[in-house]
């Protein structure tokens, strides 16, 4: 049996010390060790994007990362996207545009889009598509997700 490793993850601003086996996936650590079940697991081979979280501000697949590798890093999950005043512009835009149905892929999209708009506040249509091109959604047909990304950009611009 492999050793356990004591690691520190700063998740949504709070530091957590947790003991994990070396093979523990970050997705499982967030969901099952820290109880942050908003990050979903849809394929565990990096294709669907449901498990996307922000690692030091950049979106990554939490199913393609060992928790031990994330030791010492800052992670933002869907639970950390809303601010003290409520849902973030991206979250509100998804609600406004009916950009979710079953909601399973949604946390991954929200994290991806949050980072996309941080880096590029006024993306072109092509950049929006490229930005969300690594996330699968089986319900919406993406049209309203694309719409929501544009709407989120507007909301962010209005509020900044």
């Amino acid at each position: 049996m492999s050793r356990e490793h004591e690691i520190t993850l700063t998740v949504n601003g709070a530091a957590h010390r947790v003991r994990v086996p070396g093979r523990r996936l970050l997705s499982d650590c967030l969901r099952h060790d820290l109880g942050l079940t908003g990050t979903h697991v849809g394929c565990e081979h990096g294709v669907c994007g449901c498990c996307t979280v922000l690692l030091d501000g950049r979106p990554v697949r939490s199913c393609l990362m060992l928790a031990a590798t994330a030791d010492g890093h800052e992670i933002t999950t869907v639970e950390g996207l809303a601010g003290p005043d409520g849902m973030s512009p991206v979250q509100r835009a998804f609600a406004d545009c009916h950009a979710l149905q079953c909601g399973f892929c949604t946390p991954g999209f929200l994290c991806t889009v949050t980072a996309l708009l941080e880096e590029n506040p006024e993306p072109t249509d092509e950049e929006v598509l490229e930005g969300i091109s690594g996330n699968l959604c089986r319900c919406t047909g993406y049209q309203n997700i694309v719409k929501a990304v544009r709407r989120a950009a507007e909301l962010k611009a209005e509020e900044s």
Binding site: M1, P21, R23, R24, R31, H32, G35, L36, T37, G38, T39, H40, V41, G42, C43, E44, H45, V47, C48, C50, T77, V78, E79, L81, A82, M87, Q91, F94, A95, D96, H98, L100, Q101, C102, G103, F104, C105, T106, P107, L110, L129, E130, I132, S133, G134, N135, L136, C137, R138, C139, T140, G141, Y142, Q143, N144, I145, V146
Partner: protein, 782 residues
């Protein structure tokens, strides 16, 4: 004035929770539960000679290992055949764990329970199963040769054969009319396997407290899972509760029940006295849930100079995989819904439902309709091509006309009821579609084509759904219905219905679905039925509550109930807003309590108020409380319809296929929430595009599914889906109080037909097989 919420694009009430990570899907529950995992067959067909678990026993955290031999008789028997049919002469279902023979890659053989999923998988990897490989049967055409058998006692691998014939008005058969028709065509069509693949797989979590069993399942039917689990485990129904938590998509695959895991996980939880959870992983989902779509069709059609179909004869080989737990619903739907918006001279359809050593086939969104529509719409295009006519003119020549409803197709539908279309307006729909896509102005160009496809969809099949509505003394309205939700926005649309019916603000309405603790009788969410069935049931239940509220309020206000209306949660006399009583007070008045536990209750104790000493506090035939329950049970299905068109460009060099425009005109009767209906259409079309251009389940000759991952099963990303333009037509259904028809499956149904039509137009090559990849188009170009 009452705010009318029915028909408005009300924002979804489930979203704030789902957007902030507060959703509760199956694997989010049961944090302390032990984990189950399964050893699954690596062979398509094999005899299990021996199972050696010795090496696995050393795995730390191992709790239990079970094989079929360990199961009690009622747990180990074959799973139920849910929908028997007289034509299904050789229905076969799997045992929860393989008994002696495995019949597809992925069939569960051994169940392992361990402290967590990592350890359970470690143990699975160490269990050695000795298989004697048997000859696999792959592909329907090989299967019907009968050289090797999937089930030893099913000759020719044929589970069912059904012939349905609809003679012409003059009593002539299809074959006769085809033979004597001015023109005839015959051809073969192929549709490959695909699958629902919701992003959340299946999952079951069970806990047993010594007398009661609670099961959470990512299912499309919690009430039926409950009955199946109670029956298999020999428990009284009242001691079993089943809850569908948030479900991350279903699209049909989760209507099948009980899955082996839905029996085994609760059974082991009882036996071990601890919580157990099984969360299906992606690889398992590919090989151990269900697929659909695969059919070979042989078509013969006779038609006149106008393109009117005089006779149509379709022979279908339907691949139903290794087992038939869901009966022959899929080929029945194909055979009946193939007719679309058309009236044919005569029709004969015959299908053989065939066993192969592959994953079982059960309904996936559309449930046989995409295949039927592909058949009929390819037929229409071929007729047009043969006659040199516009493809839409041929379709129009065959349409059922608006004055011909109700229109009897003289067949038996999947619900066993007559196939009678209730309402529709197909010529108008085609006109709208042609306008939307610009059909008449389309400029033909090399490698650019336009295509069209029409369908009719029986929605809202019975037998029934129910609704319960309760107004509590805080003025809140609690709605529950038994069927489940997988993203359809039921908490919003059912609240819209209740708020409209009761005249209350939607904020006061809450909706619970799929929880047998709240509503025990239901069928499930499939066949585009939830809005029609539960929507109407909830409306009927609300009407009961409204009637009672008006009666009680009329007493209180000394008014005639007919003079009352409810606005913003207040009952008042029409034209006199001062003569009013809030529903919260009406709820208090409805319940003559003994105990005054709070201020509201104090108003209702039996000693308060104006109840007459000469009458019992609860009148005969009345009940305490302001609540109502009702059921909606339709005489038959209601028929929605739609027409799609697409413009496709093909690359002359690389043969890449791009859908550049996609237009939909859709009629699902009255719209409860147009935003949600449109979302359903978008999602359906996207699945259709996947099915037409990207997704397929590819088995090799050994019965191995060679693309069992999201790397190789190509579910489209945003970059692959065209922008979808939609138009709505609202032809209310005369069959139900709300005039609605289902919308859930609609989008997916005609897409393969439409895209085939457009590629054919772009390339001048007949497209008779879907899906189609650039590589296949390249091959077709020769």
């Amino acid at each position: 004035m009452t705010t009318r919420l029915f028909g408005e694009p009300v924002r979804r009430r489930e979203d704030p929770r789902l957007l902030t990570g507060q959703g509760r899907y199956l694997d989010d529950l049961g944090s302390g539960a032990a984990a189950a995992a399964f050893v699954r067959s690596p062979h398509a067909h094999a005899r299990v000679r021996d199972i050696d678990v010795t090496a696995a026993l050393d795995v730390d955290g191992l709790i239990a290992i079970y094989t079929w031999e360990d199961l009690p008789e009622r747990v180990g028997r074959p799973l139920p055949l849910l929908i028997p049919h007289p034509a299904l002469t050789h229905g076969r279902t799997a045992h929860p764990l393989a008994k002696e023979v495995v019949r597809h890659v992925g069939e569960p053989v051994v169940m392992v329970v361990a402290a967590d999923r990592y350890l359970a998988e470690d143990a699975c990897a160490l269990i050695e199963v000795d298989y004697e490989p048997l000859k696999p049967v792959v592909g329907v055409e090989d299967a019907v040769q009968g050289g090797h058998l999937v089930h030893e006692d099913v000759p020719g691998n044929i589970g069912a054969r059904l012939v349905q014939e609809v003679p012409s008005a003059a009593g002539l058969g299809a074959e006769e009319l085809i033979d004597s028709a001015p023109h005839t065509l015959s051809f073969r069509l192929d549709i490959e396997r695909s699958a629902a693949t919701p992003l959340e797989g299946r999952g079951v979590y069970a806990r047993w407290d010594g007398s009661d069993l609670r099961v959470y399942s990512s299912t499309q039917t919690s009430t039926s899972v409950r009955m199946a689990v109670a029956a298999a485990l020999g428990l009284p129904l009242t001691n079993v509760e089943v809850i569908a938590p948030d479900v991350g998509g279903g699209f049909g695959v989760k209507i099948v029940h009980p899955w082996p895991e839905e029996i085994l996980v609760p059974w082991a939880a009882m036996l071990l006295g601890r919580e157990i959870k099984w969360t299906e992983d992606r690889r398992e989902h590919f090989v151990s849930s269900a697929h659909e779509r695969g059919q070979v069709q042989h078509v013969r059609v006779g038609f006149d100079d106008e393109g009117r179909v005089l006779g149509l004869d379709v022979r279908i080989l339907h691949d139903h995989g290794a087992y038939t737990p869901y009966g022959i619903i899929v080929p029945i739907v194909t055979s009946t819904q193939l007719l679309g918006p058309y009236k044919l001279g005569a029709y004969r359809v015959e299908f053989s439902s065939v066993y192969t050593n592959t994953v079982q086939v059960t309904p996936y969104r559309g449930a046989g309709r995409p295949q039927g529509v592909f058949c009929m719409e390819r037929t229409m295009d071929k007729i047009a091509r043969y006659l040199g006519k516009d493809r839409t003119d041929v379709r129009a020549a065959n349409f059922i006309q608006p004055d011909e409803f109700p229109y009897d197709q003289r067949m038996t539908f999947q619900d066993g009821r007559p196939l009678i279309y209730d309402s529709g307006n197909y010529p108008e729909m085609l006109r709208l579609l042609k306008e939307l896509i610009g059909w008449d102005d389309f400029e033909p160009a090399p490698n650019r084509g336009i295509g069209v496809g029409c369908y009719v969809e029986g929605t809202g099949v019975g037998p029934y759904e129910g609704g319960h509505v309760q107004v509590t003394s805080d003025g809140r309205v609690h709605v529950s219905t038994g069927l489940t939700s997988q993203g359809q926005g039921h908490q919003t649309v059912f609240a819209q219905i209740a708020a409209t019916e009761l005249g209350v603000p939607i904020e006061r309405v809450s909706v619970v679905t799929g929880d047998t603790r709240r509503f025990g009788y239901a069928v499930g969410t499939f066949a585009s039925r939830a809005a029609v069935m539960s929507g109407n049931a909830i409306a009927l239940a609300c009407r009961k509550v409204r009637e009672k509220a008006l009666r009680i309020a009329a007493d209180a206000l000394e008014a005639n109930p007919a003079d009352l209306e409810i606005t913003d949660g207040v009952v008042h006399v029409v034209g006199d807003p001062t003569a009013a009583v809030p529903l919260s007070t009406v709820a208090v008045l409805s319940n003559p309590l003994r105990y005054a536990f709070d201020d509201e209750a104090a108003k209702a104790t039996q000693f308060a108020g104006a109840s007459s000493p000469d009458r019992p506090p609860v009148a005969e035939g009345d009940e305490p409380g302001l609540e109502g329950r009702d059921y909606y049970s339709p005489i038959r299905s209601t028929f929605a319809a739609g027409m799609h068109a697409a413009v496709v460009e093909t690359d002359p060099l690389t043969a890449e296929i791009k859908v550049v425009r996609y237009a939909v005109v859709h009629d699902c009767g009255r719209l409860i929430n147009p935003m949600i209906v449109e979302g359903q259409i978008h999602g359906g079309v996207a699945q259709g595009v996947g099915g037409a251009l990207y997704e397929r389940m590819v088995y090799d000759p050994h019965g191995q599914l060679v693309n069992a991952s999201f790397m190789d099963f190509l579910m489209p990303y945003a970059t692959e889906i065209p922008h979808i333009e939609t138009g709505h037509l609202e032809t209310p259904s005369p069959l139900n109080p709300l005039g609605i028809k289902g919308a859930g499956e609609a989008g997916v149904i005609p897409v393969s037909a439409v895209i085939a039509s457009a590629i054919e137009d772009a390339e001048g090559i007949e497209i008779d097989r879907m899906p189609i990849s650039p590589s296949e188009l390249f091959d077709l170009r020769g």
